[in-house]
């Protein structure tokens, strides 16, 4: 038995988490259909770890991320940040939580506010959290734009989301998430809109950020090659249930669950 005292406290921990969505069939009927998006999920992510969550469309990946950043609450189970359960946090504590845990959303077409310019989008979290003065904030925004490859920053500073390509929007979303130097980031398919050269540079960037700030990530993807490159461990989720967890290399080399095997089989390659 491992000594409980010696085990490091995970940054992010899910214990027996279940999330159910119930929809009324229609306005007039009393029946309802429920979808169990997550079923008794247990996960522990350590400081500095990049943890991959892999699964099919509709399997509950985004839901897991949304619960971690507390956009929603679990139907059952506990979520802990640095060992502290966050079921009842409110007000100031919630605000501080929100600055420590960030999410990069799957779809930059929906997640960026169309009325905010690029600079306003990235400034907003700094202003809300009262970080720095006008000058240092602007500098921070420019640096962050640089980091995510939107350079020269001045060319993008005053543009609006509709004036950017799909991939450029996603880079803005990433800039917004890292501008507060959070402890934990949920990255929901952050590179599915980006070409290979930029995707791999971002992976490298995430690795650097992780190393430098000891930041931890939940990396949601269905691209196993990306998971293999980036993640220390992965979990495979299927219909809301985690069916397989382990070190990335082991899971990819010796997949146990049929779904994992199928993912590996259908992975696109250059075979024409």
């Amino acid at each position: 038995m491992e000594d409980k005292e010696k085990r490091p406290i995970p940054v992010m921990e899910l214990k027996g988490v279940t999330k159910e969505y119930c929809l009324r069939d229609s306005f007039f009927s009393r029946g309802s259909t429920c979808v169990i998006a997550m079923n008794n999920v247990n996960l522990a992510i350590q400081k500095g770890e990049i943890f991959g969550l892999v699964g099919q469309s509709g399997s509950g990946k985004t839901t897991t991320g949304r619960l971690m950043v507390k956009l929603e609450n679990p139907s059952k189970g506990v979520i802990k940040l640095n060992g502290e359960p966050l079921s009842n946090i409110q007000g100031k504590a919630l605000k501080s939580y929100r600055s420590k845990v960030q999410m990069i959303f799957q779809d930059p077409y929906q997640s960026l506010n169309p009325h905010l310019s690029i600079s306003e989008t990235i400034l907003e979290p700094l202003i809300v959290n009262k970080i720095g003065d006008a000058h240092s904030r602007e500098q921070k925004v420019i640096n962050t734009l640089d980091i995510v490859g939107l350079a020269p920053a001045r060319e993008y500073y005053n543009r609006y989301p509709h004036q950017l390509s799909g991939g450029q929007r996603q880079r803005v979303a990433i800039a917004r998430a890292i501008v507060l130097d959070p402890e934990f980031i949920v990255a929901d398919e952050p590179t599915s809109m980006l070409d290979a050269t930029i995707a791999i540079q971002l992976f490298k960037l995430l690795k650097q950020i992780r190393k430098k700030y000891n930041m931890a990530f939940l990396f949601i993807t269905h691209n196993l090659a990306a998971a293999k490159y980036l993640c220390d461990r992965i979990a495979v989720i299927h219909n809301g249930v985690i069916v397989e967890t382990g070190s990335t290399n082991v899971v990819i080399r010796y997949p146990q669950h049929p779904y994992t095997k199928k993912l590996i089989e259908t992975h696109p390659g250059f075979n024409f």
Partner: protein, 326 residues
């Protein structure tokens, strides 16, 4: 004669900092029944090409130069009304992030019926209903899901409905802009098969836009690689992906992660995105190219031919240096 022939097309956006040339002097053509793929960096102008071919450029954009011959007639000069008649009938487009573009409060079948009615006012109700059933059958959506609302569909089903809608008027050319990026690999695989099947069965031409080179390699017979608003390499897929010429194509292929890539794969340096406003006609990849010579900074590149079909927009010396260097 080619179905579509684009010659020296340049498209610009007016922005606060100046005129941004998102598509710069590009030429390509596509035969009936063939598939042409565009790959390239995010922001290199792929969607802009699609929007131009559909006559759907936003207000701050305009065609600055060039001709677009479709089936012999030049689209570059059409007015709004002419575009409305033309669009959707001969060319249709599956838009990037189209899944979110379906109207959430209208049933899926009604959205398709509407698309057919707009272009075929003379068609009878029964014929239209028949047509809708055939289309859904073609994309494998069960009949009993026709009356659903879009949110009741999974991502993959929505995307197949969008494909059905794009096929509604038997177009001769379909432009598919990142049709599978939001989908998981298993659903993606189904959709790509669907697109290939339609191309074969209906002899439809396909322009396929994606940043994912493996996806483009799967679907397309001919490839254009773009960088900074220009086509930098074109050829048959075997030529471009097995014997890439242009330094950018090589970088792109080298960055592609496969299940066998090892963790020490060489990552290209963060490239300064090409500045499309101050662009001076020289090679826009020069700043990030590790074979760049003095000539690359002083002269405009030209087409270097490898075969009748395979060409790169570069300098012979640079290509040679690149080959020796690796």
């Amino acid at each position: 004669m080619a179905l579509l022939n684009v010659e020296n097309l340049t498209v610009g956006y007016k922005t606060k900092t100046g005129l941004l040339k998102a598509v710069n002097d590009i030429s390509f053509s596509i035969e009936q029944g063939r598939s042409l793929g565009f790959v390239g960096e995010s922001g290199c102008g792929k969607t802009t090409i699609g929007m131009t071919l559909m006559g759907l450029l936003p207000e701050n954009a305009s065609i600055l130069q060039g001709d677009i011959y479709f089936n012999g007639s030049n689209l570059a000069g059409l007015n709004d009304k002419q575009w409305r008649d033309f669009r959707g009938r001969e060319i249709s487009m599956i838009f990037q992030a189209a899944m979110n573009a379906m109207n959430p409060v209208i049933r899926v079948d009604e959205q398709i019926i509407e698309a057919i009615e707009t272009h075929n006012p003379e068609m009878s109700k029964t014929d239209i209903n028949e047509k809708v059933k055939t289309l859904f059958n073609m994309v494998d959506i069960p009949k009993d899901r026709l009356k659903d609302y879009p949110h009741q569909y999974s991502g993959g089903m929505k995307q197949r409905a969008i494909i059905a809608m794009a096929l509604a008027c038997n177009p001769r050319l379909i432009i598919a802009d990142e049709p599978t990026t939001a989908l998981d690999v298993i659903v993606q695989d189904q959709i790509l098969k669907e697109i290939k099947k339609i191309q074969k069965e209906l002899n439809t031409s396909v322009v396929f836009i994606s940043h994912d080179i493996a996806v483009v390699a799967d679907v397309c017979e001919d490839i254009c690689v773009m960088y900074g608003g220009q086509i930098v390499e074109k050829g048959k897929r075997e030529e471009v992906f097995k014997c890439p010429l242009h330094p950018y194509t090589k970088t792109l292929l080298a960055s592609y992660l496969s299940l066998d890539s090892d963790a020490n794969i060489k990552v290209p340096e963060i490239q300064k995105a090409p500045d499309l406003i101050t662009f001076n006609g020289k090679c826009c990849f020069a700043g990030s190219c590790n074979c760049c010579t003095a000539k690359c900074k002083s002269h405009s590149p030209g087409w270097v031919n490898m075969s009748e079909t395979h060409q790169a927009f570069c300098f012979e010396d640079t290509l040679k240096k690149d080959n020796n260097g690796r």
